[in-house]
């Protein structure tokens, strides 16, 4: 017992200061791809996840990147596209709407969000309702809807001594009856669809639904298929989408704080 106390004291405090202080990911970290204006952007076939699309109209070539589908592999920033695309370091990507995660470039002009921000969206109202009823604290139930376990591990990491989300009034609870919302990982498999619906229905209103990772946010590399619904919003309304494959723990934490209205989503910040 004494040895344990001595070891604990010697280890000291290992907890991060995020979000009070910004977190800087390491040099090799692959965050949101950055399209460079004025250069010829890569074709959709470059992306193994199908996150890049293009179409043509009178204005020219439209190239769109769906961050919800992106697996952050970096293929679009490889030779010969290194001048056109680079992998940025931004990981705070959570948004209230799928459309806010679409970045579109028209005729190689500067990147714009595909959808105009809509501060009165249904999702935002749900968030403010959560904020009004529950205050700044949020208790969440985790729901694995067919994930590869990477997003699950990152959620579990939020409870480790380094991220320790309980310091922010956030916790993961065992019963949906005790929860204010769910964090869902995975694309919602056929074999889990009933369990997913029943779990969410067991959570009292108002409740927040957070889709964590590419599979939950868009179907990701799984997509729609005989065994997969292709994303949480095919089954349930989603309040916050957190891109990443998987999102790093701080990216998930950012999304949770967006859901409870304590931080602004990226699309809202960009307008300010």
């Amino acid at each position: 017992m004494l040895r344990i106390l001595i070891n604990a004291l010697r280890t000291g405090v290992v907890t991060t200061r995020y979000p009070a202080e910004p977190s800087v990911p390491p040099d090799r970290f692959r965050g949101a791809p950055v399209f460079r204006p004025g250069s010829h952007l890569p074709p959709p076939s470059v992306c193994p996840a199908g996150a890049i699309s293009e179409h043509f109209d009178a204005a020219g070539r439209h190239v769109a990147l769906d961050l919800a589908r992106c697996i952050f592999c970096g293929q679009c920033a490889e030779d010969p596209w290194t001048d056109a695309v680079s992998m940025g370091r931004d990981f705070e990507l959570a948004a209230h709407r799928r459309d806010d995660l679409r970045i579109e470039v028209v005729a190689d002009q500067p990147a714009i969000p595909a959808a105009a921000p809509d501060r009165n969206a249904q999702a935002l109202r749900a968030s403010s309702e959560i904020h009004r009823v529950l205050g700044r604290s949020l208790h969440l139930r985790h729901l694995d809807a067919g994930s590869c376990n990477a997003c699950d591990w990152e959620l579990a990491a939020l409870l480790n001594p380094v991220y320790d989300v309980r310091r922010l009034g956030i916790d993961f609870v065992a019963s949906p009856r005790h929860a204010d919302g769910v964090v869902v990982t995975g694309p919602v498999t056929r074999n889990l669809e009933t369990a997913v619906r029943r779990t969410v229905e067991a959570i009292p209103d108002p409740r927040v639904v957070i889709a964590v990772g590419a599979c939950a946010a868009s179907g990701g590399i799984v997509g729609e298929g005989y065994a997969s619904a292709g994303g949480v919003d095919r089954v349930l309304p989603v309040d916050v989408y957190i891109p990443g494959c998987p999102p790093r723990p701080e990216a998930i934490l950012f999304g949770i704080l967006v859901a409870v209205g304590r931080l602004n989503a990226r699309s809202a910040r960009r307008q300010e």
């Binding site: 040895r3 344990i4 070891n7 604990a8 280890t11 990911p25 390491p26 090799r28 970290f29 692959r30 193994p48 697996i71 592999c73 970096g74 992998m87 985790h142 729901l143 694995d144 067919g146 994930s147 590869c148 376990n149 990477a150 997003c151 699950d152 591990w153 990152e154 959620l155 579990a156 990491a157 409870l159 480790n160 001594p161 380094v162 991220y163 993961f172 065992a174 019963s175 995975g186 498999t189 056929r190 074999n191 889990l192 669809e193 369990a195 779990t199 990701g220 590399i221 799984v222 997509g223 729609e224 298929g225 005989y226 065994a227 997969s228 619904a229 292709g230 494959c245 998987p246 790093r248």
Partner: protein, 538 residues
């Protein structure tokens, strides 16, 4: 290398013709049996006198080819330490109009789930299977629809039909309770359903139902460019990303006829050992959670977090995604990162030694682990249990030695200390093996780093890659041997890919081990195996 003694042994027990040929690799043997009825005797000859084990079973739909049939390949591998690296495939042709094969499960218990899976996904019926319940497709799946047949379009959802409750295998009697657990669990863990029947605290029987996370990934990969399909293989399982990515790459490189350069092979092996290390260290911590030893849980989580942060510095991803790629590795490991890595693994070593010291000095933890969840040696052999779960029950198998890959495939492979516990089998043995293997991983990483010489990182794979050839690889992932089987079509696209993960063979062992324990110890038993659901379910 067609071994005459081997094929003669198979001819003796077969009533039909037996055609042996070399392949898929030069060291492998493929034996075509003209009569499916010869399968059980042939399989018995392989696992009995030749002490081989079932490695994987791969069904394919070849109805659109000139053969016009379904095929099943039963792949076996030697189990004796020091045996040559080889796979022996028993190949049978199945008439698509009458898709039946004799079940091997009573002869080869490890074939149990493979046969149920092939019945669900291909409609190939294992005649005489002792437990032919559906495995992969759950309630409400339409009858007569087989998703891995080529004629099935897998890109859309399939309606759920009304269904009866799944027939769980339960014990009955006075005072017998049924305890349903899952698929949604209380913690942040993967989904599965466990139906216990118990008398008091004692587990009489456990029926585990998995495949809740079945995403249809093998079907999803079919028809894709093999270079794009790699990103799916790498994402079958989060915590085996490096191992499964590497297994797919080695299978693809065999098909392409290329070898990754020496520096890339060393970096791949560093990634494999880093993956093993963060898994093992985190799992020792999680086992402490099962024994309510929270200091241990927090210490394990802290050490694992440090390693995952190191992963992110090395590869840009906390699960090592994006390092291993077809043809080699995508990123180099420069001296400054190697220096940081050396410090991290040394700190991990002292942290792990401290944690194990606290566990071993804590009677309340040791008492929970000792003699809990016993997996008998013979059961581990019969079920072809893989990895540390097998080694903790005295089975001396390790794919790094038995099927050399990564840096072990080079001309002067490093020594590997394979940790086995001959009289083990309980949860404490699995904790001990984990700790010893983590130390061995730290030693190996140091050894690989010392061997790094400047050189190319990657060879180019030119598409289209050749169709018709089979690539097969076996990788020692954190949980044990994973077997990858890949074949491309005439256009160089993925025709069939199959992964047999270590968890696939180990789940039935968890059930056996749980039946030696009491209900409250199940979390501990389960965590001592720490298996993946996602790479079992795919």
């Amino acid at each position: 290398m067609t071994d005459p003694a081997f094929t003669d042994a198979l001819r003796v027990c077969a009533s039909g013709s037996v055609d042996a040929s070399v392949g898929p690799r030069p060291s492998d043997l493929t034996v075509r049996l003209s009569r499916t009825g010869d399968l059980p005797a042939a399989a018995a000859a392989l696992i009995g006198p030749h002490s081989m084990a079932l490695a994987t079973v791969v069904a394919t739909d070849e109805t659109a080819t000139p053969d016009g049939d379904l095929k099943v390949r039963y792949v076996f591998e030697p189990t004796a330490p020091g045996a040559p690296d080889r796979f022996v495939t028993l190949l049978v042709s199945v008439d698509a109009a009458y898709p039946e094969v004799p079940s091997l499960t009573t002869v080869v218990p490890a074939a149990n789930w493979h046969e149920r899976e092939m019945q669900d996904l291909f409609g190939i019926v294992p005649v005489g299977h002792p437990d032919p319940r559906p495995l992969v497709v759950h309630d409400g799946w339409p009858r007569g629809v087989f998703p891995l047949r080529k004629s099935f379009d897998g890109s859309h959802r399939v309606p759920v039909e009304p269904a009866d409750e799944f027939p769980h295998l339960v014990a009955e009697g006075e005072g017998v309770f049924e305890i349903p657990v899952g698929p949604i669990h209380a913690g942040i863990i993967e989904p599965g359903h466990f139906r216990f029947t118990s008398v008091g605290e004692t587990v009489l029987h456990l029926d585990a139902r998995l495949f809740y996370t079945h995403r249809g990934l093998e079907k999803r990969m079919e028809g894709l460019s093999p270079l794009d399909a790699f990103y799916i293989a790498e994402r079958i399982c989060g915590v085996c990303s490096a191992a499964h990515g590497l297994g797919y790459c080695e299978a693809l490189e065999q098909i392409a006829g290329v070898d990754a350069p020496p520096r890339a092979r060393l970096i791949r092996s560093i990634a494999l050992e880093l993956e093993r290390l963060y898994n093992h260290v985190g799992d020792v911590g999680n086992i402490c959670a099962g024994a309510a030893f929270h200091y241990g849980t927090a210490t394990g989580a802290r050490l694992k977090e440090r390693l995952q942060q190191m992963n992110e510095r090395l590869t840009g991803n906390r699960f090592l995604r994006g390092l291993v790629v077809p043809g080699g590795v995508h990123l180099d490991l420069p001296a400054d990162l190697l220096g940081a890595l050396a410090v991290t693994i040394q700190d991990t070593l002292s942290g792990l030694d401290g944690l194990m010291g606290r566990i071993e000095a804590n009677p309340s933890v040791v008492d929970r682990l000792d003699d809990t969840g016993i997996l008998q040696h013979q059961a581990a052999v019969d079920l072809a249990v893989a990895g540390l779960a097998a080694r903790a029950s005295g089975v001396d198998r390790d794919a790094r030695r038995d099927h050399p890959h990564g840096a072990f495939a080079g001309p002067h492979p490093p020594d590997l200390h394979v940790v086995t516990i001959p009289d083990g089998g309980d949860a404490m043995s699995r904790v001990t093996v984990r700790a010893l293997e983590a130390r061995e991983s730290i030693r190996l990483i140091g050894e690989f780093v010392r061997r790094l010489d400047p050189g190319p990182l990657r060879v180019a794979l030119q598409e289209p890659l050749p169709g018709g050839r089979i690539g097969i690889s076996a990788i020692e992932s954190p949980r044990g041997e994973a077997v990858h089987w890949l074949r491309l079509d005439a256009g160089g696209r993925v025709e069939r890919y199959h992964l047999r993960s270590p968890s696939y063979h180990n789940w039935p062992a968890v059930v056996l081990a749980a039946e030696t324990a009491i209900v409250p110890d199940f979390p501990l038993v389960n965590k001592s195996f720490e298996l993946c659901y996602s790479c079992t379910d795919r």
